[in-house]
Amino acid sequence: MSLIVAAFGFGLVSMSIIAISAVGFTMQFGITNMINLAYGQVMIASAYAAYALNNAGVSIWLSLPVGAIFGAVFSFLLNRLVYAPFQRKGTNLIGMVIISLAVSLVIANVMLPIVGYYSVSYHQDPGTTYHFGSIALTGEQILIIALAVVVMLAIYALLRFTRLGKAMRATAANPTLARNCGIPTARVVDLAWLITGALCGVAGTVAGMNSDSFSVASGSEFLIPIIAASILGGAGSPYGAMIGAVIIGEMTEISAAIISPEYKQVVAFAVLVLVMVLRPQGLLAKRGALAAAG
């Protein structure tokens, strides 16, 4: 029993990481109608950007913003240089999925010769371990959870209370109508890529902090729980992705304690299959702030 409670504690950490990444992933989909399968690779690239600074002797918490900025700029350029031109050309949804998978392949293999094949780990001090009953969390893990809570509140505030958030929701709901109402949708989309890219960079860096080591190959591993959480919550809905992250994060960690850690991803996938059979629109579709278009 105490094993399961301990796993619940780890679940809190992994749900935090999944939540940060899945909200970014699902907002890209909601606002630009684009399933960006290169998301996992951008996460890894940002994690390596933070690693470069961390390896030079900077604390990992100070390197985190660098990972965020790298992710933001990378995602912005990716959209400007690749995705947006293809979308303007009228490439259909299927074509865009193939393009993003091809982009993911290119990013991974451009990175390989640069960063090498071996996995690396951050130079970090996990801090003292705090015990809450059977749950044992390091100071760093508690900070990750706190960071996730702050990021979720910030996303909520952005979408709920700011003009930009309102414009994003309008663009997600109906881009043509939003443009006709005078919303500069092109700029909204640019900002959306910057913000979601920053989330992606933060998520990549904290995922690297929470795992013993990471390598270029971790990109596709990261992506599976993110896709599962986003689809579970209803693709395009940030609040759905948060709920999805809670469910997927806890289920994977608890099943790792009960069955075997090797099958973590398989459990995430099983949830995904169940959702697709029983409720393909997800838990919160059409009710979240960013209902999926089409």
Partner: protein
């Protein structure tokens, strides 16, 4: 030299089969089957465990299920059947209600997960190490290392590829093929004309799965080993690159793409002088595959040999009142 030539030709036959299947699914019907490679893998594993003796043979250095030691045509037939039978359960989950891009990512995730499961379950198909010493077909009657055997195997593989090519040709020119194209172009209109889109997708999924299973059996019978590292999800993307380059929906394009991309790349890099640190050339190869997809989708989305436009002389009354997308196809 014989060995080299036969290897290239067998790979060509296998890639042609795979590209024909992808062209049927993706080119003709618009289904992006990112889990294609697991159908090929299922066929290869089936053929392997059916032709291998029990896993206690060979000193028991590998563990796997079955090991029935069946003689030649049976493992290949079974591989084709397993490829076909794998399609309905996947299709029932994926193809019924999901939007097309959801279908694609669901199958991509499935491909990653399948390889994880096989890698982490050594008792099933020997995990990450994979199966080796798979007996070649009819190796009990002929010497599988003789030149004559290699050429006969190559000829057999190529003949099967030709047969499948003609079957694929029949499919795309049949009324069934017309329905598939109608569904691809405008699913709502096809449904409105009474076409059952789910049934259409399921049948082409099964046909593609069978072809993929057969191609896996041919490959494993020749190279005699099969492991998870040979069927990672990027392998599917190579085949998609081939079909996009060759021309989707056109069987000649699929054949051309198979010869240009998977076969051509493998052979071209063989003759490159080694440069850079180890692993640089394979990485660059993947960058080129990705670049090829992006480049072709941008500059020539219909491929080198585009699908033939099918124009039928309009029947007057139908053309006037009919749905434009229905009369076009």
């Amino acid at each position: 030299m014989t060995y080299y030539l036969t290897t290239v030709l067998v790979y060509a036959a296998v890639d042609i089969l795979a590209c024909l299947a992808i062209s049927l699914q993706f080119g003709v019907s618009g289904i992006v089957n990112f889990s294609f490679i697991i159908f090929q893998a299922a066929g290869a594993y089936t053929a392997a465990v059916l032709s291998l003796p029990r896993d206690t043979a060979n000193g028991g250095f590998q563990t796997y299920i079955l090991g029935l030691n069946l003689s030649f045509p049976l493992p290949w037939i079974a591989a084709t059947l397993v490829g076909a039978l794998l399609a309905p359960p996947i299709g029932l989950v994926v193809l019924r209600r999901l939007r097309s891009d959801y279908q694609a990512i669901a199958m991509l995730v499935l491909s990653v997960i399948a390889s994880l499961v096989v890698t982490n379950t050594p008792a099933f198909l020997d995990g990450a190490a994979g199966l080796s010493l798979v007996p070649q077909p009819l190796s009990d009657k002929f010497n599988p290392y003789s030149e004559a055997y290699l050429w006969a195997y190559t000829a057999g593989a190529l003949i099967l590829a030709v047969i499948v090519f003609f079957i694929a040709q029949r499919i795309i020119n049949s009324p069934y093929g017309r329905s598939l194209r109608a569904m691809r172009e405008n699913e709502v209109a096809a449904k409105a004309l009474g076409k059952n889109a789910v049934a259409l997708k399921m049948t082409v999924f099964v046909v593609g799965g069978a072809i993929a299973g057969l191609s896996g059996a041919i490959l494993v019978g020749f190279i005699t080993t099969w492991a998870p590292s040979t069927w990672l999800y990027p392998e599917t993307l190579i085949l998609f690159a081939a079909v996009i380059v060759g021309g989707r929906g056109n069987n000649y394009g699929a054949v051309l793409g198979a010869l240009l991309v998977p076969v051509g790349f493998e052979e071209a890099t063989r003759y490159l002088p080694p440069f850079g640190p180890p692993g640089l050339i394979p990485a660059l190869e993947w960058v080129c595959i990705g670049g090829l997809i992006l480049g072709f989708l941008w500059f020539r989305p219909r491929g080198v040999l585009p699908e033939r436009r099918r124009v039928f002389p309009p029947r007057r009354q139908v053309a006037e009142v009919g749905n434009p997308s229905a009369s076009r196809d």
